[in-house]
Amino acid sequence: MSSNRRRHANAIPVASFLTWALIGIFACGGGLGYVWCKNQLYTTGTEIKSLERELVDLKNKNEVAQSKIAQLSSTAKLQERYDTGFIKLVPITNDHITVLSNSTAAPNTGELRPVSNERTHE
């Protein structure tokens, strides 16, 4: 057997090897990518769920707080607090109320008028 022929028989089929290697890499990469995507999907799902829970909790807390505020600021509660002396208010008696009627605007005649608070010289 000639040396040339032996060399030819033991030659590494680089192209074929590379082809299969690439196919393998792509297959493995694809598989890993799929697993990674799937994992990401689950992780994101868990995050979404956790955020949703947090949002619902906050909404609930907000509603509970609003309900509490409404109860504490309701007319009935304020009246109760006033009756028990918690809110110290003194009712204004009729003789302490002055009702002012709206002043009518002076006609725009161009005439000069003294201002109402102008002091007259004695």
């Binding site: 979404i48 769920k49 609930n60 509603e63 309900s67 600021s73 007319t75 509660k77 009246q79």
Partner: protein
């Protein structure tokens, strides 16, 4: 190949073919024949239809104060198929929710028959407790996690809360366990308040946790709309306080106060006794739940004289100064008495002195048919149309059912059944110049974004009297609330008040009018020149001595106190210059407040 070897190969082939045939058959059986059955089992195990609850709309007063709203709560549910240590779970539940341990254990050990698996299995859905506060529910879940237990989950729910408790109980109404309106505005506005629940299909893993990426069809919840009432809580509070004081003083069987805006028909305040706490509804007698302003009929008594007088003046058969012979207090042919003998009274004075004979003669002059027509025109005998459930139409008999003396009794408010709201609405027509307005309790409806969905503008039912006639009646009613009239105690310092008292004897079981039981009332408006509100005060069987059981002595002072506070609350400009140091007219006891 030898014959033996061929035989063996053939046998092996046949055996393999047989095996594959069996496997193929089983495959087809599982995937095709029993597909639906197994798909259902799989779906039952993993796919869940999760309800997204809609928020019920809130109810507010005209100024936006919340009158009915929601508080989030949780329903604690157990899935016994997932529970490994029932005793530990029961201990957590019984400690936190104060439920006896055996009771929890009984629930957790329940079994149900599974149609899909064709065998008994632990119950996958057991409600342990409803309406659990959110913080308690969170505590339970924290304890479950701490003790590494599973099989409990929380369902979102909400409970209706009424911050003002007893106030407006008859107007607001209440909801049942399914959050459906059962009475009041909660019931009439149910279709707006309720909203539509949403849903979401999702898959769960074997531990019961949702697998978010496998979420299926989803529909968002549509929250209920918010309802704004015409009620003003400032005025309502004034009414409630005065009504409480009146009930304490007179201990009536029932009492009603209504405040209305005569120009729009808006109900500004409405209260009835007995009442109840909307947040604690156990053992509330049915009787207390009735909104007597619209569900009870009473004979209006002398307050009905405004209808007769306005009708006679509108028909122009008399004018305010026309003199009517009042028979010196006894109209013999129809056996009708006046409380005081009057020889002749003008139409104006008939109202001022509340003469029964005078109004009877006005009705006789009008004639049966015409008088009946006016009674109906003023809204008696028909529902007002207010947006509250259970309103009745009252009783007004047509002329062909009248007795010979009906034409003399109806003008003074006997033989007529009217709801307090009908009386107040009729007075609104006098106050606004003759326009019968439909009473409104709803101002508007908005969605949860604040967009107005529906409005309830003032609605005139019909014109019932001329402006001249109502002006004349109003002038007379102002004098009713003067030292000459029957309602001096209804005066409000600084304002002209117009009004009419009513004292109606209640019929006994034998059909005759007794002398012990009365319905006393006052209906009026202020300021008389430009009315800001019409007020009705009605007490049924007030516990006072016989000589004081009159509308002018019982109901009129209540109106006066409400009027005084309401005028200040509304910032009404005084219309009367009171002399310095003047004494309120209510201190004058020399007047006669009696009417019939």
């Amino acid at each position: 190949m030898s014959a033996t070897a061929q035989k063996r190969a053939l046998t092996t082939c046949i055996a393999l073919a047989g095996c594959f045939t069996v496997f193929s058959y089983r495959l087809i059986d599982l995937q095709v024949t029993k597909h639906d059955e197994y798909a259902l089992i799989a779906a039952n195990n993993h796919v869940v239809r999760q309800t997204i609850p809609a928020r019920r709309g809130i109810i507010t007063d005209i100024r936006g104060e919340a009158l009915a709203q929601n508080e989030p709560v949780r329903t604690v549910v157990a899935d016994a198929t997932l529970i490994t240590d029932r005793d530990a779970v029961a201990e957590i539940i019984s400690k936190t929710l104060n439920i006896p341990h055996p009771q929890v254990m009984e629930k957790l050990t329940r079994v149900v028959y599974s149609q899909a698996l064709k065998k008994e299995m632990p119950a996958p859905y057991v409600v342990l407790k409803k309406e659990v506060p959110v913080n308690l529910a969170s505590d339970i879940m924290a304890q479950m996690a701490e003790r590494k237990q599973r099989g409990l989950y929380l369902e979102t729910d909400s409970t209706r809360v009424y911050p003002n408790e007893k106030m407006l109980c008859h107007i607001l109404g209440y909801v049942n366990g399914k959050n459906e309106g059962m009475d009041g505005v909660e019931r009439t506005m149910e279709r707006f308040l309720h909203g539509n629940d949403g849903f979401r299909y999702s898959e769960r893993d074997r531990t019961g946790r949702e697998i978010v990426p496998y979420r299926g069809q989803e529909k968002e919840a549509r929250n209920g709309c918010n309802v704004r009432l015409t009620i003003d809580m400032g005025l309502q509070n004034i009414v409630e306080m005065e009504l409480d004081a009146a009930v304490k003083q007179f201990r009536p069987k029932s009492a009603t106060v209504i405040l209305m805006n005569p120009k729009t028909g808006d109900i500004l305040a409405m209260s009835t006794r007995p009442n109840f706490n909307l947040n604690v509804q156990d053992n509330v007698p049915e009787d207390h739940r009735r909104n007597r302003a619209i569900t009870d009929i009473v004979e209006p008594g002398s307050t009905f004289k405004i209808v007769t007088t306005a009708a006679a003046l509108t028909e122009k058969i008399v004018h305010p100064n026309t003199m009517i012979n009042c028979e010196n207090g006894y109209f013999a042919s129809v056996k009708l008495h006046d409380h005081h003998p009057y020889p002749d009274l003008s139409v104006h004075d008939i109202l001022v002195h509340s003469s029964n004979i005078g109004v009877a003669k006005l009705a006789i002059q009008l004639g049966d048919q015409k008088f009946y027509e006016y009674v109906r025109r003023f809204g008696f005998g028909e529902r007002t149309g207010v947006n509250l459930p259970g309103e009745i139409s009252g009783i007004v008999h047509p002329p062909h059912k009248w007795s010979k003396i009906s034409i003399t009794r109806m003008p003074m408010g006997q033989e007529v059944g009217a709801t307090p709201l009908q009386v107040a609405t009729a007075m609104c027509a006098i106050a606004n110049g003759g326009h019968l307005m439909m009473p409104q309790i709803i101002h508007d409806i908005t969605d949860d974004q604040g967009h107005v969905i529906s409005q309830f503008p003032p609605q005139e039912v019909r014109t019932v009297a001329t402006k001249a006639a109502t002006d004349a009646v109003r002038d007379a009613l102002v004098e009713v609330v003067s030292p000459r009239g029957t309602a001096t105690l209804a005066r409000v310092m600084g304002y002209h008040v117009a009004g009419k008292t009513g004292t109606a004897q209640k019929p006994e079981p034998d059909g005759h009018y007794g002398h012990d039981r009365y319905v006393v009332s006052f209906v009026g408006f202020m300021p008389a020149e430009d009315p800001a509100f019409v007020g009705l005060v009605l007490l049924d069987e007030a516990q006072v001595s016989h000589d004081k059981n009159y509308g002018g002595m019982v109901a009129a002072p209540i109106f006066s106190r409400i009027g005084e506070k309401a005028a200040r609350y509304l910032g009404l400009k005084p219309t009367v210059e009171e002399p310095t140091g003047s004494v309120m007219a209510r201190q004058n006891t020399n007047n006669d407040y009696r009417d019939q």
